[in-house]
């Protein structure tokens, strides 16, 4: 069995690029979305990140602004 790429098109950026991206935008202009579990979020997270654990994401999309660039981890 081989996997297909089941991923919706989303550009991937590496750590350095994401740091630059965050520093170039003010917090109000971008959404930093943390989709991990709350326990992981507590341990560490990117400052300003919104926590919506993956299991809840499909039901809570209305809390996010689709027009803002969204950085997901």
């Amino acid at each position: 069995m081989k996997w297909l790429h089941f991923f919706t098109p989303a550009k991937s950026i590496d750590f350095n690029e994401s740091q630059t991206y965050i520093s170039q935008h003010s917090g109000e202009d971008i959404t930093i979305l943390d989709v991990r579990q709350p326990s992981e979020y507590k341990q560490s997270h990117i400052p300003g990140a919104t926590l919506i654990p993956l299991p809840q994401l499909s039901d809570r999309l209305d809390e996010l602004d689709p027009d803002k660039p969204t950085l997901v981890y």
Binding site: T8, R36, S58, L71
Partner: protein, 191 residues
């Protein structure tokens, strides 16, 4: 999940928070090979869905063998069994909306052809994400990302399927994938 729901610009941080913690850059992943542009015929969507379930099952069976933690092992065994049921429902849905009935063998051959076009083996897939098979949190996290993709796929598919019965089948599978995601989340919290 976001890119398929009208979000204009979605940026995935490669390697997630691990990359931030370790401060090491993980090479860019070109995962823009979306199979679904929303214009596919429901029959084609079901073929891809079937192969997705096959992939999920394959993934869970591999993980079940690798896992040492009993709770994790049991969950993967349970999840792989459910994917078999999903495959059967998808096959039934296919015959339900297809103008001619196909046998399960014929259907699987069609699915296989489609899956081989741009596939990755489970091993390559795990390597792509830098998953440490001995780290349960890593494996569960990958399983969650796959289930989220499956959920997203089914939610989008259900909007395209006009046949009410098929739509109900897809919705039922979507809800089960959502429940899988929740179980994986709980498991992650319990580690």
């Amino acid at each position: 999940m976001l890119a398929g729901k009208g979000f204009r610009k979605v940026l995935n941080v490669s390697g997630g928070i691990k990359a931030w913690n370790a401060k090491t850059a993980i090479g860019p992943q070109d995962l823009g090979m979306d199979l679904f542009n929303g214009k596919e015929a429901p029959l084609d969507i079901l073929k891809v869905a079937y192969s997705l379930e096959q992939g999920l099952r394959d993934f869970y069976i591999t993980m079940e063998k690798q896992a040492s933690h009993k709770k994790v092992k049991d969950l993967f065994a349970k999840l792989s069994d459910i994917e078999v049921k999903h495959q059967m429902s998808i096959y039934v849905a296919y015959n339900d909306i297809s103008t001619k009935d196909v046998s399960k063998d014929e259907f699987e051959k069609m699915v296989e052809q489609k899956a081989l076009e741009g596939g990755l083996t489970t091993k390559e897939y795990l390597e792509l994400f830098g998953t440490n098979l001995n780290a349960e949190a890593d494996v569960i996290s990958l399983a969650m990302s796959i289930e989220a993709q499956a959920l997203d796929l089914y939610q989008r598919v259900s909007l395209n399927v006009e046949n009410l019965e098929s739509r109900q089948i897809i919705n039922k599978i979507a809800n089960e994938e959502k429940a899988h995601l929740a179980s994986l989340g709980k498991l992650m919290d319990s580690l």
